[in-house]
């Protein structure tokens, strides 16, 4: 046992003395959470709007004012020439141009119909359709309030929308679990595999093998420091998301930690498995970088919802550990369900971890050939 702890302490020295790596390890979660929280967001904010209004009457002015008053939109330019509409998009500052028809108020009053055209920059389709939806909402609510009751249609279907679990539709609710799945995998799998392969590369593994130290101790003591590090990261992410991004932990913290621990364990065993397959740090980085990061980013539901993928990709995503973790974390963090609803995910993650540990112990070479 003393052997084991001395080895763990040595491993901590390696990590602490490599300042740059340590900074990256502790900084990655903070940077990613803040990036996704504040910079990379699917919400619409401060959309730059230009208005072309040839009729210039009371109604169009009122609508324009209402749009400008909304926190989502900044009306930055009033165009006086329709020919400038195309140019203005090319400069890239404007996301939306609103074109009112001629004699807008008059038409509205006499025929009950008036034309307004919304021209949005379609290069970012999601954002464009969100913007258009918002504007349509503003126009509709103006129409309802401005229209005399008599001219209103005799019956309307008025949907009352309620967003469960995430009433404000904040995107951070969606990505925080995903980021956790990504970061924990990154740190556990990549760093553990690199740390073990480094001993092979520098030749120290050769000396360690010709010692009474059991291979399983060598492997386990390599993963303990990264287990500790990922716990620190887990805490950082949770604190940041609760206090900075205001994403609450709706479910039980205990279930969340249990699930994360299983996932961390799984990621560590993935790292061990990778280290038994490759001989250089470069290869370890490539395998864990390309082989793990890409599927995790694309197939875990972090960026694209799994339900809308083609069936084949859905099957493939079933072997991506992060998929199960992210799914369960969303249930616990956002929906606040109890442990009985994530038993499937928990079971799958535990099974994957067991298989990987057994495989890597079998594959671990007690010799060099």
């Amino acid at each position: 046992m003393r052997q084991f702890w001395v080895f763990v302490v040595k491993e901590f020295y390696h990590i602490v003395r490599d300042r740059r790596t340590m900074l990256i390890l502790l900084g990655i979660p903070v940077a990613q959470i803040l990036l996704f929280g504040f910079a990379i967001t699917s919400e619409v904010k401060d959309v730059q709007v230009a208005v072309y209004d040839p009729s210039r009457d009371a109604v169009t002015r009122q609508i324009t004012e209402q749009i400008a008053a909304s926190s989502y939109f900044d009306v930055v330019e009033m165009l006086d020439d329709a020919s400038r509409i195309n140019d203005i998009f090319k400069y890239g500052r404007i996301n939306l141009v609103i074109v009112f028809g001629e004699n807008f108020a008059e038409n509205l009053q006499h025929t009950g119909e008036a034309a307004v055209q919304l021209i949005a920059d379609g290069t970012e389709p999601n954002q464009a359709s969100l913007i258009v939806n918002y504007i349509e909402g503003i126009l509709a609510s103006y129409a309802r309030s401005a229209m005399p009751a008599a001219t209103a249609p005799s019956f309307t279907i008025q949907p009352e929308v309620k967003m469960l679990y995430n009433p404000q539709l904040q995107s951070s609710y969606y990505f925080v679990p995903g980021i956790m799945g990504l970061i924990l995998l990154q740190i556990c799998a990549m760093m553990t595999s690199i740390a073990i392969v480094r001993e092979k590369e520098t030749g120290t593994m050769e000396v360690l093998l010709v010692s009474p130290m059991k291979p399983i101790y060598i492997i386990l003591s390599k993963s303990v420091p990264y287990l500790v590090l990922s716990m620190v990261n887990l805490a950082t992410i949770l604190l940041l998301s609760v206090f900075v991004l205001h994403v609450p932990v709706a479910g039980s913290l205990f279930t969340l930690l249990l699930l994360s621990l299983v996932y961390i364990f799984l990621s560590l065993s993935l790292g061990l498995f990778i280290s038994t397959m490759v001989d250089t740090q470069m290869a370890a980085i490539l395998v864990s970088g390309m082989g793990l990061m890409m599927p995790t980013m694309l197939l875990s539901g972090l960026i694209f919802p799994i339900e809308s993928m083609p069936a084949v990709l859905q099957w493939v995503s079933a072997v991506v550990p992060a998929r199960w973790y992210v799914e369960a974390m969303k249930k616990i963090m956002v929906q606040g369900v109890g442990i009985e609803y994530v038993l499937t995910e928990l079971g799958i993650l535990t099974g994957m971890a067991t298989v990987l540990v057994v495989l890597s112990l079998k594959k671990f070479n007690v010799r060099l050939n």
Binding site: V6, F7, G203, V207, V210, R367, L368
Partner: protein, 308 residues
């Protein structure tokens, strides 16, 4: 009983035969040198004996234990210093030593007497990172780490490669002291001058042992007279000597060419021949053959020494 014993060891990497039918025994308290050029198979042999590789053919035992079946027990009883510097560069001298002591279930204090002589030289740098040590210091530290658990057999794979001459000398003095304490040492080296310091040496070439003998006997068995020839134009000398019909073999040894003659004795006409070819300040003297001369003779067919 022999500390190390090998019978018919063979090992191939694909079509390349790294080791072929290697057999030898090492007695307790012996310094056994394995002498040969790079790529001769020295490291492969060491790895087989330290249980890191398995041989394709033959059997070997260390401390009476089989290197395949009883590899675990062997790993507790030998010290191994690989050819490449294999300590933790980001740990200090003292941390490295303490770590390896712990790995072998012992403490620096318990076995300090084993490494005291060597460690005394390292002590002033005990807090320095291993990466910042000089080549000689690195090797001394590696030796300390390989010794700290009181091994019965010490395997040193090219311990002095890339080390300055003074440190090399010191290193060998340490090995002599360790032998006096009863340690059995297997050491490989590409430096022929270190061969004479071993009790017995095996000359290895292309995976085969050419000869196993004491250095003295190997040298004594050299069959011919040998002469050192030097001149003012050393770079042409070897070619001119090899072009000279009475010359048996000629090899460049840095400051001189070592030459043997077909008729055994140096022909009187040699100096005239070389002078005619523009060589001046000629020196020709008979010398004692070195291990390297023997190695050259054993490893080449007689014609080799004449080929340009």
């Amino acid at each position: 009983m022999n500390r190390v014993s090998a019978t018919g060891i063979g090992k191939s990497y694909g079509p390349v035969k790294a080791l072929d039918d290697i057999s030898f025994d090492v007695a307790p308290g012996e310094i056994f040198g394995i002498i040969g050029p790079d790529g001769a198979g020295k490291t492969t042999l060491f790895r087989i004996l330290t249980t890191l590789l398995t041989a394709d053919a033959g059997r070997a035992s260390v401390c009476g234990l089989d290197v395949v079946k009883e590899y675990r027990a062997i790993r507790c009883r030998v010290g191994y210093m690989p050819g490449r510097f294999s300590l933790y560069r980001d740990l200090s001298v003292e941390e490295n030593l303490r770590f390896f002591a712990s790995v072998f279930n012992t403490t620096v204090e318990a076995n300090y007497h084993l490494v005291a002589d060597i460690y005394r030289q390292l002590a002033p740098f005990s807090t320095r990172k291993a990466a910042q040590l000089s080549g000689g210091m690195k090797q001394k530290l590696a030796l300390c780490c390989a010794l700290i658990h009181k091994p019965e057999v010490l395997f040193l794979d090219e311990p002095t490669t890339g080390v300055d001459p003074v440190s090399r000398k010191e290193f060998w003095e340490m090995l002599m002291r360790l032998r006096a304490d009863g340690l059995t040492i297997l050491v490989s080296t590409p430096y022929m001058d270190e061969a004479s310091l071993c009790d017995r040496i095996a000359l290895i070439q292309s995976g085969r042992f050419l000869k196993i003998e004491t250095p003295r006997r190997i040298v004594a068995a050299y069959p011919r007279k040998i002469f050192a020839v030097s001149s003012s134009r050393m770079h042409d000398l070897l070619r001119d000597l090899r072009a000279y019909a009475p010359v048996g073999t000629a090899f460049s040894f840095g400051a001189a060419c070592h030459v043997t003659f077909a008729a055994d004795d140096c022909p009187a006409a040699l100096e005239a021949y070389l002078t005619a070819r523009g060589h001046s300040s000629l020196r020709v003297e008979e010398i004692e053959p070195t291990v390297e001369d023997c190695f050259m003779l054993l490893s080449k067919t007689p014609d080799d020494g004449k080929r340009a």
